[in-house]
Amino acid sequence: MTDQTDALLVADCVRKTYRTGAEEVAALRDVELVVHEGEFVSIMGPSGSGKTTLLNCCSGLDDIDGGRVLLDGVDLHALSDARRTANRAACMGFIFQAYNLIPVFNAVENAELPLLLAGVDANEARRRASETLDRVGLGARLKHRPAELSGGEQQRVTVARALAGRPRLVWADEPTGALDSETAEQVMQLLRELNADGLTLIVVTHDDVVGSSANRAVKMRDGRIVSDGLVAGAVSSAIPAAPTSAH
């Protein structure tokens, strides 16, 4: 077990098995992971290695079959669905590969959703969402619906949505997977800047370039973490994590 002192996220022996008819697939096998405040962690591995499952289980989007996930010391899977959902709204942000914006909401309406969910006043939510969109370079596109924005712009709205609620932890699942290299680099630059400002980021990717943007790289294979360490040349912005032993 790694040093859990002041850890923001602790995954302790997390197991997840998918059942398809009679077949069982172990997606996560006793995974242990500790993430501290301010870290920029990339989770990498080939397709089917369990990256996204780890994201889903550690963020509380999905249930686990064994182990526990602590966020700020709170066992996520011991909470009811409603409490876990409220916890997500209060502490986490998400960036998805397919943007997953609400098509009938415009940019600012999408970005303000987490704020409204957190119970922020509607006017205040609108103001803060607009500010966040302005910060990601979309100050002039507030009233545009997703269908009226380019892929890069939509992903920026997703980033703004993830940040608007000032979460402690942002999960990004292949954030540049649907973008061209130039736009992808812009988005990653933005994420780096946000991390530099203190945001904790966990990025799931199979792209080495994206992975190298992080300070710490966790590599997975067959549902296990096979390596965990600082990215060469990276300067840790948080308490360094000791390498997690793979089972």
Partner: protein, 946 residues
């Protein structure tokens, strides 16, 4: 079925000869069996409603037609003459009649009578008849002994063979004694046999469905007539029944030629040749068609709601499959092939829904008729219809074809429309850009349409066509739309056109009435469609503002924001759902308002029908109550005796076929004490003056405003003061032509045509006896209750005028209730529709729900958003339908279409129940999909869209 086969050919071609398209169509159809079932459920209601409407018509047709078997059998024509003396003339003239169309005659003597049991408590049948005929001859009559219902020997002296209806009424069996009353005397007869209600045994030539027959020994009627103690009594009738070649129904087809032949043989004799069988069969056909038309017309709303649902479902299917359809187009699938695949899938739904809808329609028709059975059989004078469920396979086939054609045309057109998407936008799932200004060519086409609309309006005014008058200006306004939209903002243009069309569709009713136009139920259907269509367009233009208004009120609720966002963003789909709800609610509220307005008329109708009287009494014409003596009764303040009979109206404006109608002779006493109110006294200064003028002149008559109408609702042909018509006595065959001097209000007492007693005597001869009277008594209820027992021997019957009006109103209200129950099927379409739409919406938005849940949206909030969405659409639809129906009903009360005193009333309770019921049902239909949306696991939804 040929239509179905021909329409199916292109789809079958695709399914058989295009394997790729077949796979696409069939695999998509079976991919989600539960949703396929919902689509079929949504589409089958159109077929069910049509089939149900046709079955209603068939049942009425068959039920009335059954009367031909039960009360006439082999009898095709009835030759009758007043008095016993005419018998020998009739028989001698018809003896040796050899006509290729006639296969037999049967001599019969009849007189009206009343009958009673001799046991205590006494049971009475005020309307009965004594009949004499030779049973052996009767069995041979028509060539089919079974169809005559006659068995055994002719009853001997003191014996009676009675019909099953009378046996049931008097609760007597063979061996029991009964009393028969006629001409001031009574006969006690021993019941020898009870015959079934069939053919000659059930012979009855009146409107009553009960055949209270007493067959007596030949000579009995002559005997009691000779001993009569009353002078003013209708004499017995000498009758010869005539059977045409052919069966019960086929024989009636020869009535015209047979009547001609009989007329030639009887030239110069005062007889009437009654084509009773043909009249009954015609009535069966007419009533069946009329009810079918009524139900089909009103069912159109539900059918259209079903069409909108189908279009909506197909749009949702296309939306869901947009990227795969785009890919198919990108890899080389032609647009026509895409239409083929989509339409072939729709064809599968159409076939299955048409077949299932046919069965549901049969069940629906049966349920409707079961509910209507009591309503139509319930008439105090036993003239109701005993309903027997029946249907023709041709009707079932017609329902199936209509349902299939509606579904397949909707599917075909929707498929063509959907295939016109942009491939790239479809693949990338990009929203279609807002439509540009209409093309110039469309503008010109619109102007041409507007010109045609003007022509249509002109035709409407010149040709007195209400539909043309209503639709003409609508076509003009809509036709100008594209050209206006090229130069002005589209929203403003659509708003303007929508508003103008609504105003016109409301205003047209009083305008048409002012122009003396006739209209029927179809007008309300078209008016409803135009109004709802325009209102939906108008609402769609301003949905954003409506949504923002609601959003401001509930700005802290994310469920409300999300729930409103989808319907506001997808205007087309929302408009379809709105239209679906609004159409159904419109017609339901309209019928409810009418029911309330008519129901609130009891007081007014009673005053109008009463004049200065409060009780109507009737008696047996062969043994009438002595009304002059009754007038001296201390309880009776005034009495006006009337002579009521049946006549054939053989000529009148707009009349194509002679119609049987009631006719009543009255004298000055009727006018002096206050006869029923007139709707139009014509050139006379008062109602009383008009009545007196009619008494004084044997050529004048008063008729009600629905004279010769047969379809219910407003009369289809407008009868005017000064019109002339010819009436023929149903027994003697005498003719008389009358001029309409005045028009009465609703004839709740079934007086029929009113003319003076001199005209009645001229027309009916010795049968012009006072068999009915309007009385003004001090205690109407007590008097009416005691009357039947007091005048049992006279076949006395009495009812207060308020009671008659209440019965009529109750029957009318039941009919409205039945209509509403039927129309509520449309609500099933609406509610099922919203359920289907929500199920599809949940599937369509799985990933979005997953994102929302990931972001922290609680499951309850997701559920709430779906409920808000359906509630918003349901509330808007209900509001549009309700408001339009109220405005429409109010506009109708401005005219005198249903009489000049119909007050506008809003049935708040009925409408409240309807509105709340619809709303609750819509929410219930959303409950399951909303719950399933709330259960979506974010991780699963984000991983798999489906």
């Amino acid at each position: 079925m040929i239509i179905v086969a021909v329409l199916s050919l292109p789809f079958l071609y695709v399914l058989v000869c295009k394997p790729v398209l077949r796979r696409l169509a069939l695999r998509n159809a079976v991919r989600r069996p539960r949703e396929t079932a919902l689509v079929i459920l949504g589409s089958l209601l159109g077929t069910a409603i049509m089939t149900g409407s046709f079955v209603v018509g068939d049942t009425f047709n068959a039920s009335i037609r059954r009367m031909a078997y039960e009360q006439l059998g082999p009898v095709d024509e009835i030759v009758s003459a007043n008095g016993l003396a005419a018998a020998s003339t009739l028989q001698s003239r018809l003896a040796g009649l050899h006509d290729p169309n006639i296969d037999g005659t049967l001599a019969l003597t009849s007189t009206s009578a009343s009958a009673a049991s001799t046991t205590t408590p006494v049971r009475a049948a005020p309307k009965a008849q004594l009949l004499e005929t030779e049973f052996s001859a009767a069995r041979r009559f028509g060539g089919d002994p079974h169809a005559t219902g006659i068995s055994g020997a002719t009853p001997g002296p003191g014996a009676a063979v009675i019909g099953s209806d009378l046996a049931r009424t008097l609760k007597v069996k063979p061996g029991a004694d009964i009393d028969a009353f006629a001409y001031g005397t009574s006969l006690t007869l021993r019941v020898d046999r009870v015959l079934p209600k069939l053919g000659i045994a059930g012979y009855w030539s009146g409107d009553e469905t009960a055949s209270n027959n007493v067959f007596v020994s030949p000579g009995t009627i002559a005997g009691i007539f000779a001993r009569r103690s009353v002078t003013a009594a209708a004499p017995p009738q000498s009758i010869v029944l005539v059977s045409n070649v052919g069966g019960v129904e086929a024989g009636a087809k020869r009535t015209a030629v047979a009547t001609q032949a009989l007329g030639d043989r009887l030239a110069g004799v005062a007889v009437n040749i009654n084509d009773r069988k043909e009249t009954v069969l015609d009535r069966a056909e007419r009533s069946g068609q009329s009810l079918s038309r009524l139900y089909t017309s009103l069912g159109t709303f539900a059918v259209l709601a079903g069409i909108l649902l189908l279009v909506n479902i197909f749009f949702m299917l296309a939306d869901e499959r947009k990227s795969e359809l785009g890919m198919l187009r990108a890899v080389g699938l032609r647009r026509s092939s895409l239409v083929g695949a989509f339409a072939a899938e729709g064809w599968c739904y159409a076939v299955l829904s048409a077949i299932a809808g046919t069965f549901v329609g049969l069940g629906l028709g049966r349920a409707l008729m079961a509910a209507a059975a009591t309503l139509f059989a319930k008439r105090g004078d036993e003239t109701g219809i005993v309903l027997h469920f029946a249907f023709k396979w041709a009707s079932v086939e017609r329902g199936l074809v209509v349902g299939f054609v509606i579904a397949i045309v909707t599917v075909g057109l929707t498929s063509v429309w959907l295939s016109r998407f942009n491939i790239i936008r479809a693949i990338r799932d990009i929203t279609e850009p807002p439509s540009r200004k209409p093309h110039r060519r469309l503008g010109y086409l619109g102007v041409v349409a507007a010109a045609l609309g003007l022509l249509l309006t002109g035709f409407g005014v010149a040709g007195s066509s209400f539909l043309a008058l209503m639709l003409g200006p609508v076509v003009v306004f809509v036709g100008l739309g594209p050209m206006l939209a090229r130069n002005f903002p589209r929203t403003s243009v659509n708003t303007g056109i929508g508003a103008v069309v609504i105003v016109w569709a409301v205003a047209v009713v009083p305008v048409a009435i002012a122009l003396d136009m006739s209209f029927d139920v179809l007008v309300f259907v078209v008016q409803g469609l135009v109004l709802v269509g325009a209102a939906v367009v108008l609402t769609a233009q301003h949905q954003q503002a409506i949504g923002q208004g609601i959003g401001r009120v509930a700005k802290r609720s994310l469920s409300v924001r999300l729930g409103l966002a989808y319907p506001l963003a997808r205007r087309f789909r929302t408009s379809m759902t709105l239209g679906m709800f609004a159409l159904v609610v419109f017609i339901l509220v309209l019928v409810s308002v009418f029911a309330s307005m008519f129901g609130g008329q009891i007081g007014q109708f009673t005053r109008d029908a009463s004049g200065g009287f409060n009780v109507i009494v009737q008696s047996n014409p062969s043994n009438p109550v002595a009304f002059d003596a009754l007038a001296r009764d201390p309880d009776v303040r005034a009495a006006a005796p009337l002579a009521t009979e049946k006549v054939q109206i053989t000529a009148a404006p707009g009349l194509t076929q002679s119609r049987e109608w009631g006719a009543t002779g009255f004298d000055a006493r009727f006018a002096d004490h206050g006869a029923p109110k007139l709707d139009d006294a014509g050139s006379y200064p008062s109602d009383a003056a008009a009545y007196r003028a009619v008494v004084a002149s044997p050529n004048l008559a008063i008729v009600e405003s629905s004279f010769l109408a047969s379809d219910g609702g407003p009369p289809s042909a407008v009868i005017k003061i000064g019109d002339r018509f010819t009436a023929r006595d149903g027994t003697s065959g005498r003719f008389r032509t009358f001029e309409i001097a005045a028009i009465s209000t609703q004839d709740v007492a079934d007086n029929g045509v009113l003319f003076g007693m001199p005209a009645a005597r001229d027309l009916f001869g010795a049968r012009a006896v006072a068999n009915r009277a309007y009385l003004d008594v001090s205690d109407p209820d007590a008097f009416a209750a005691a009357f039947a027992g007091r005048f049992l021997a006279n076949g006395g019957q009495a009812q207060t005028i308020r009671g008659i009006v209440q019965d009529a109103m109750a029957q009318q209200q039941q009919f409205f209730l039945l209509m509403r129950s039927y129309l509520a099927l449309g609500l099933v379409v609406g509610v099922a529709g919203i359920g289907v739409i929500m199920v599809r919406a949940v599937r369509e938005r799985r990933r979005q729900v997953g994102v929302l849940r990931a972001l922290g949206f609680q499951a309850a909030a997701v559920r709430g958003a779906f409920v808000v969405e359906s509630a918003f659409v349901a509330v808007e639809g209900v509001a549009i339908g309700t408001v339009l129906a109220l405005v429409c009903a109010w506009s109708i009360t401005l005219s005198d279409a249903f009489g000049d005193s119909l007050p506008f009333r809003i049935p708040f309770v009925a409408i409240g129940l309807l509105v709340v019921g619809t709303f609750v049902c819509a929410l219930l239909a959303t409950a399951a999909p909303a719950r399933s949306a709330a259960r979506i696991q974010p991780a699963v939804a984000l991983r798999h869209a489906d």
